[in-house]
């Protein structure tokens, strides 16, 4: 049954007697997924309860009829075209799939119980939702650890002379000065939402899941140095007298004031530094003479040496910060590394997969099973069990 408050507010809107506060309240209720069915029922009921019809503009009505009358052919044709494109893409994979099907068939005969038929419904009970919270662990200079989730909004923690407060949206803000350089670390486990952190110099950083950042609570030295593992996005506060330096396992990024992303996961083949704005100098540890100066829009891939990408896909590089998985130009394994970090699952591969490059983007808010359903479009199925995801090519 509908929440009485919900129906009360809804009816006031329908009767045009709702105040703007009441409209806002209804809007907030609308965003709660739990209210979806009740809301829909109220709208449906409203259609049946209409006493006085408002007449829609006759021209508009005529236009709608005209448009629908002429769309017929085009709409059905375009659907067919879209499907053909998709099919063509997978035609190449089909041959490989046949072999996998054949192999799978043998296995089925030998161990029938192991190779159950696949269904997304089976996945549902093992489904993994997108992370709802950051599960950040803060390590103070004293070695004391604090679960940031346990802090409420506005709570303040002191570490020496430094204070850190949890603000709105869960972001952590540092204030106060410490004469000596004391280091704090924030670590996000896999399956954690990104965390936004404002350092004492005003630099804003976003930390991705499965990542950690170590930074001084106050930048007292000649340089502002932080160390990261995993992935972080920086908007460095400008200070031309104090260069900002980001150290990863293999790279060193030196900046004055600028916006950039550093992706330095240990399971990726390179450390990628993407510059959005300003300028940064990228060095590979041990090859300090072969530094690369990045221009906005460029990317440095640091592996054995530094490879420069002159026109990087900026949006793809910061998609994580904006709530998306960017699939564009990536292969299955690269997507699955993101998936493993985000949903905190282990991924297993059954059989071989094509080296198909993907396109598009997906919201990071969808559940893992929904993500798998969309991979089905690419001929890939995934079975979920106890945070273990097993992928295989779809049997056609």
């Amino acid at each position: 049954m509908a929440d009485p408050r919900l129906s009360y507010l809804f009816n006031k809107v329908i009767e045009k007697s709702a105040s703007s506060e009441e409209k806002e309240e209804l809007q907030a209720l609308l965003l709660d997924p739990e209210n979806e069915n009740a809301f829909k029922a109220l709208i449906e009921e409203a259609f049946l309860q209409v006493r006085q019809e408002v007449k829609m503009n006759d021209n508009a009505a005529a236009e709608i009829l005209e448009v629908i009358g002429s769309m017929d052919q085009a709409a059905s044709e375009s659907k067919v075209i879209a499907m053909n494109t998709r099919k063509r893409k997978w035609a190449a994979v089909a041959a490989a799939a046949v072999i996998i099907v054949a192999a799978g068939w043998f296995l089925k005969l030998q161990i029938p119980a192991e190779n159950k038929s696949f269904s997304y419904t089976d996945n549902e009970k093992h489904n993994v939702a997108a992370p709802a919270r950051s599960q950040a662990v803060l390590t103070l200079s004293s070695g004391k650890t604090i679960l940031l989730d346990s802090l409420g909004e506005g709570d303040v923690v002191t570490d020496g002379a430094v204070k850190l407060a949890k603000g709105a949206d869960g972001r952590i803000v540092y204030t106060g000065l410490d004469q000596k350089e004391a280091f704090n670390t924030i670590a996000l486990p896999r399956g954690s939402r990104p965390l936004q952190l404002v350092l004492s110099d005003g630099t804003v950083t976003w930390l991705n899941a499965a990542s950690a950042i170590t930074y001084p609570t106050n930048f007292t030295g000649q340089e502002r140095r932080v160390k990261i593992e995993g992935e972080a996005y920086f908007e460095v506060a400008h200070d031309k007298n104090k260069p900002f330096i980001v150290q990863t396992g293999v790279s060193r990024v030196q900046v004055l004031g600028t916006h950039f992303n550093v992706k330095a996961y240990a399971d990726e083949s390179s450390t990628d530094i993407t510059l959005i704005e300003g300028s940064v100098r990228v060095e590979r540890t041990g090859q300090e003479n072969a530094a690369v100066l990045l221009q906005p829009g460029q990317q440095a891939l640091v592996a054995e040496s530094i490879q420069l990408v002159k026109e990087a896909d900026l949006k793809a590089a910061v998609a994580w910060k904006n709530g998306y998985f960017s699939l564009k130009g990536t292969d299955l394994y690269s997507i699955m590394r993101q998936v493993a970090r985000w949903y905190d699952v282990e991924v297993f591969y059954e059989g071989t997969f094509s080296d198909q490059k993907f396109v598009g983007a997906l919201s990071r808010d969808i559940s893992l099973n929904d993500l798998l359903k969309s991979l089905e479009e690419f001929g890939i199925e995934g079975r979920l069990e106890n945070r273990q995801l097993t992928l295989h090519m779809k049997n056609k």
Partner: protein, 200 residues
Amino acid sequence: MHSLPPFDEKSLVLLIASGDQKAFATLFDYYRNRIYTVALALTESEQAAEEIVQDVFVKVWLKRGELHAVEKMGAWLFVVARNMVFSYLRSEAAKIRSKQRHAGTNVELAGIWHESRDYVTEKELRLILSQAVDQLPLQRKQVYLLSKEEGLKQQAIAEQLKISPQTVKKHLQLAMRSIRAYIIARRGFDVFLLLFWNFL
């Protein structure tokens, strides 16, 4: 309450299923104002309410092949309509909330965020949009391109194509409507969270 429809629903549905546009118009005329009334009250926007009515009937037309299985046309139509209204209201509420949430952070961030939102649908829309524009009748397409791509004022378009400003206005309105119908038909009303695919 409401009197029974002035037509036999079963046979009307069969006619619509067979592609009869006149039968479709009868159904449209009977239900459009009722859907419009509720949509208008909830969205408080004539344009949004008109778009919802259009989306509902685009769906009816696309699904006409399956209509014979529908027992009660009115009830089915209201389910389609309530889903449309709900999706519209929720996306509006989400839009407002995201604006509020990002108002506190710096402008740069809000810029990147919006850009990336657009990015997700931009490529897809660009492709479908060009197809949608391509299927417009020649003169309507000309008017649309002169207005949207060349940025010409309606008066200038009228002069260039030697047609009346009213005709330009009508062409533009119809172009926008049919582009919307086309895109919605293409997306199949999916509420699925798959944001876009492009085929490079």
